[in-house]
Amino acid sequence: MRSKLYRCLAGLVLVLTASAAIAQKVRGTVTDEQGQPFPGVVVSVKALNKGVATDADGKYELALVAGTHSIEFSFTGYSKKTQQVKLADGQELVLDIKLSPDEVTLDNVEIIGYGVERNRPSTASVSKIGGEQITAIRTPSFEAALQGQAPGLQVSQSSGLAGAGSIIRIRGIGSVSAGGDPLYIIDGIPMTQDYFLRGNSGAMNNNPLASINPADIESVEIRKDAAAAGEYGSRAANGVIIITTKRAKQKGWKFDFGVNSGISTPASMPNMLNTEQYLRLRQEAWENDGGTGYVWLPNLTTAQDDAATREAAYREARKTDTDWVDETIGTGYKYGVNFGARYGAEKSNVYFSLGYDQNESFLLGNSYTRISARVNPEFRIGKKLRLNLSLSGTRGINDRIDAAWSGGLGDAMSNALPYYPVFHQDTVFDDTGNVINKPGDYYYWRDEFGGTKNPVAFREQLKWITVEDRLINTGRLIYMPMKNLFVIATGGLDWMQIGENRLNPSTFDLANGVGSYSSDRRIVRNYSYNVTAEYAKELREGLNGSLLVGHELQTSRTEFINDFIGNLDDTYVDFSDVNLNDPNRIRNVGNPQSFSFLGFFAKAKFDYRDKYFFEATFRRDGSSRFGVNNKFGNFPSVSAGWILSEERWLKGNKTINFMKLRASWGLTGNSDIPANAQFALYSAANNGILYNQQPILFPTQAGNANLRWETTSNFSAALETGLWRDRVTVTIETYRKFSRDVLMNVSLPPSTGFTNFWDNVAEVLNQGIELSTTVNWIQKPDFGWKTSANFAYNYNELVSIGDYTPDAVSGGTNDSRVIVGRPIGSFYLVEFSHIDPDNGLPVYLDLEGNETYDYDNAIRKYVGDGLPNMIGGFTNTLNYKNFTLTALFTYSLGAKIFDSSAKRQIGVVTGWNMREDILDRWRQPGDEASHARLTLDETTYGLDRGFPWWNTSQFIYNADFLRLRNLALDYGFRKETIQKLKLESLAIGVNVTNLFTLTNFPGLDPEVVRDFENPQDRNLSPNVNYLTPMQERSFNIRINATF
């Protein structure tokens, strides 16, 4: 066995050695349509990640290894040319190329957004990320792979839960209660992107992006400014992300096959106390409080028990030491297979793919499996018509576990005390001598809310699965009645059904011993279509213009169906035991939620001599979500660009080969609020609520007939430069986004009879600067080193909240509030000063900054916020022969994190286990300790009795971090090597995600996406941790072949 392995390794070394070869060259001259030398043309071999630019004389020289290569010549505004060359050892080949200005035809037309992509420089701020960059990082969901890839794009990674979603923010956050996520467009239609279809079920929000197979993605465009996002008008205030799926582009057949495998481990570990530590600290707290004898122990004794009983329990407790964290986490295994086929013929082509992805997390019992299929055919119908279809079906199966506040690892970090055993060790009798528990039965305890707990028992016995079925189908008719005129009609249906089935076995119900089954289904039908006509014309020599008009409709309906069967006995242990037509089944059908959207738009574009560019867009959008008088809003935008490097005084400059200035302004909007927020509503309680057996009718919602769009005035300006033939590129961009009429779901005084209502209240400012650069340090035939880096600074300020107080809007169960002059989602807590060395008590600061021992909610104040000032990433790519080493670092500076569960884990000694941090506590006068003297009595810290929730700034930490997000080593086999296998390409790669993180944050992870209650919570509570699972560190290997 061992000798076989050695032989394999020796073979691999031989293959790798054979890959090394002496240098060969391709050189030549590139000319334009008039035969003039063409400087600045990018000459590249994509497979090798190599490229150079032509010099002032249009000349280039590219050193390559021997073999067959595909060399691409590109320049914006010109048709790309690709040439296959075969280089023998030591050969020097001359290849001259002539480029012509691009001309869009029915065959090569690309539609991105609403319009025809003309491959000309534009006025917009767009970051485009290729599919290969997304699949290079194995993440729970594709959007996490966007992190660090584009300036101003903040991606907060999801927790380690399988299938969990990230938070994406583009240039800060301008919304308070309305959804703050960017608009997602897939193949031309807006996706259903509701993160709260299942609310906050088991401490996890639904991730509407998890069902997209990353292997199907051709590209992702991030549209940031008014010029880029403005054409989406009323929905673009938080940016737009456009996902384009793959299509066949070549003639004949081509196949892609990829397999990957990996393991998931926690990126960090909680440091919970063991039994000895916990008991010792609890005893210390008891004695600090004046207690004598042994301390009482949760679930074993009470403070009222006599000393002998307490001592016996204490001694018994010492016999058990369960590491509950270890009981809930392990190693997750991942594997995936993707098969893609492309076929191109004269009048049709098709891209077809099948994908299977099994993604276990490190949380035991938790996995997300995606099975996906896609067919993207294109048909040429006659001479003037083309039909593109994108048909996809996905099933996402999430094997669920409890997390965070709901249980699982959350229990292990809170109520699971180390002296609780997993199983009963001895027989337990009741007062009358009956056997209650036998050895080997699960040991259950009660948490402070009376809930039955044991994360192992729940994981092993609870049947809980969420299945998402999704069909995203779009069709696009492109009609070209004449040259340069395109009429494009795009329509789609995004159909989605999420079903969550849960079987609680009878063993969980200690009081009555009955189980229950529930099935909750949400069905979303999201129809949309848009139709545009675009005509481009050369108006006079050098002056090109185009005009696009269009309109768009969208309607979406969500249905809710819940089935419940109660009183199940102990024979119900799996889903197969449940009769779905059980006569005791109770079915509740919720009120469907529907909304519609309507938009009309026009866009004019001009460019003059490829130097000056101007665009103007006007949209008039209507939404059913707004009041009668405010259904429509107007959203104009204008933008301009100037390519300075085309001016005579700069053209041919040896240093600056490209320079562009661009600026844009526009209004964008946000309407992402609940469908019926505007209405004052009554309910007739048709679900059978009666009083005195008589029907009732009652108001359910305060309406606001004046609800209108949240509107953002978005100004942006940028300078793009290419230096030394694009060896160095730098883009610097600045923006100012001012949002008015920002929608707030305002908390009403309960004495009004309602809890909240929607109103246009706030004003929010985001302004910042972004920098991105690419440096090709070394461009040798066998060795290359490239660095891409981006940096973004954002200033966020809540400018106004009308006459309301900070408590008018809060972030779910978190302690973030709206504070004028501070960022959205600022932490509003009692300020902690220090631990008094004399007595070990926590000292707070009141509103005037005076020290006090009294914890009082009236002295809450701004103590930090979770929005970073600076974010970014940098990627270093090293090529050596056929090896590529890529290291992606991401960083975040200036944000704080509120470690909300730390207030219990390193606060009052309660029925929660604690973190080892608490060992640094005050013990005697003079101690300079990080933590207060231990106590079982919350009033010691000035808290109200019965309220150990200690919301102070002591648990606000600096969340700065630098993380090696991805480290990858790839090897591309030489064609000669793989020709025998009839392969076109073969690549093998290994990567590790989240290998290390540099941070001062003492908790689990400085980057956190917790479970949220609603979009408002998602906006207001970034960087709040509450027993949130840590992120995963995954080790992966992948092999991709094309043939």
Partner: protein, 457 residues
């Protein structure tokens, strides 16, 4: 110009669609407010919903909070209950926030009805008068109970100019400041007096004239206005419509005793398919592994245990160091009287004692209750009992009879306000925490002033 035709054609497509209609998506499964109140049935249903909220509040939710502030209970289980028991609620305490909000749900519904009678076609004058009186009855009852929990009592300050509660006379979203307790009681009395004057003599399970009279008697009693206490108690007791229950069980299981409590003037009704007692049955439930969330104080247990012949001792069982109240144990469906004969007899007796008038009637009432409890007349008050003896006996019986009903707290506060030195579990009756804190959201308006917290330990 052919190209222009295409552009115009696309631009014209929207004209084929009626834009406004496309954007009209009336909510499904819900009723627009403007369509909700059209018929007399609609109005009756809205009124029914006010009772529905009352049933949610008085399923034990209100009673438990009030009882926790008294000295009847031992330290409870559960964070919120502990906060109330320790008189340390703050504006984040969910349970106290929930009860507060529920009262104002009912008030909003009543106000919505009161303001919209004109929209209802075909409503008879008689029905309108009845509904108006019922709505004002509920509005008054809700405001009164909010005041009892969330403000210091009537008599806390000499002129009652201390802060009371937010008074909602209209349905609206605007934040309001708290009124004084004097204004609060004036408002409540206006509503209840209107109700008394306009409610029908009988009204099924809903509020009638006697219900309003009983409420007025109880309100005046808390104001230490003994003459009016007697006056309105008399209305009910002397009406002859109610008879004392034969047994000590105020909450007979419907279905086993067949008849609801004949003492009931007004209360919350339950049915097998609509049980409204869960906060009582759940929190006093002794059948679980752990003791109930709410158990009796040792001192109250001793009061019961003083006389073993007292049948009401059967309500209490010891579970370790806890004294479990079994009044609701094994009950499935039962009603919760809110205005009933026993209480009215006892407050009338105490009021007569305070007035030193008609002590014979007072003694007779107290003895009727004692004879029911003891099964004989051995423990009767002598006919020559003094006013002070009458008062003491009335209070003892009141405390025993109303245990768990959330009424003892308000009597302790009333007596404190009257000048007695009332200490409740080591703290004076008027310490700040005896008034629960208001919900956080009430503070979203700068007009609002909360209660001082703590100060009772």
């Amino acid at each position: 110009m052919k190209n222009l035709r295409y552009l115009l054609l696309v631009a014209a497509i929207p004209a084929l669609v009626s834009c406004e209609r496309f954007l009209e998506y009336p909510p499904q499964g819900a009723i627009l407010a403007e369509d909700a109140l059209k018929t007399p049935d609609d109005a009756q249903r809205l009124l029914n919903s006010c009772y529905d909220v009352l049933a949610n509040i008085f399923d034990g939710s209100y009673q438990n909070l009030a009882e926790l502030l008294s000295d009847n209970l031992d330290e409870p289980n559960g964070n919120d209950f502990q906060s109330v028991y320790n008189r340390s609620t703050n504006f984040f305490t969910p349970t106290t926030n929930g009860v507060y909000s529920d009262f104002y749900y009912a008030i909003y519904r009543c106000n919505s009805l009161l303001e919209n009678f004109d929209l209802i076609e075909g409503l008879s004058d008689a029905d309108r008068d009845r509904m108006e009186a019922e709505a004002r009855f509920i509005r008054g009852v809700c405001h009164w109970h909010v005041a009892k929990l969330y403000a210091q009592p009537y008599g806390y300050s000499a002129t009652n100019n201390h802060l009371g509660i937010v008074l909602r006379e209209k349905a609206g979203n605007e934040p309001l400041a708290r009124s004084t307790v004097e204004e609060t009681y004036t408002f409540i009395l206006e509503d209840l007096t209107f109700a008394f004057n306009n409610l029908p003599v009988s009204n099924d399970a809903y509020a009638d004239k006697n219900a309003a009279a009983g409420m007025l008697a109880m309100i005046y009693f808390l104001m230490n206005d003994f003459n009016r206490t007697v006056q309105f108690s008399d209305v009910v007791i002397e009406s002859g419509q109610y008879t004392m229950n034969d047994t000590i069980d105020r909450f007979p299981n419907i279905g086993t005793t067949a008849l609801p409590n004949p003492e009931t003037v007004f209360g919350i009704v339950s049915f097998a398919n609509d049980v409204r007692t869960e906060d009582l049955t759940g929190n006093y439930n002794a059948s679980g592994i752990l003791p109930p969330n709410l158990t009796l104080s040792q001192e109250l247990n001793q009061l019961f245990a003083q006389n073993p012949a007292d049948q009401r001792n059967s309500w209490i069982t010891a579970d370790g160091t806890k004294y479990v109240l079994g009044r609701y144990q094994d009950k499935v469906v039962f009603n919760i009287p809110l205005v009933y004969l026993t209480e009215l007899m006892l407050i009338r007796a105490e009021a007569l004692g305070e007035l030193n008038q008609d002590l014979g009637t007072a003694i007779e009432d107290i003895n009727a209750i004692r004879e029911r409890a003891f099964g004989d007349d051995i423990n009767d008050l002598p006919s020559g009992a003094t006013a002070a003896e009458v008062i003491a006996a009335a209070r003892e019986e009141y405390r025993k009879e109303t245990v768990s009903e959330g009424k003892w707290m308000e009597q302790l506060k009333r007596r404190g306000a009257k000048g007695e030195n009332i200490i409740i579990r080591g703290a004076p009756w008027n310490c700040p925490g005896m008034a629960l804190q208001f919900p956080n959201a009430e503070f979203t308006s700068a007009l609002f002033t909360g209660n001082p917290e703590g100060g009772c330990n």
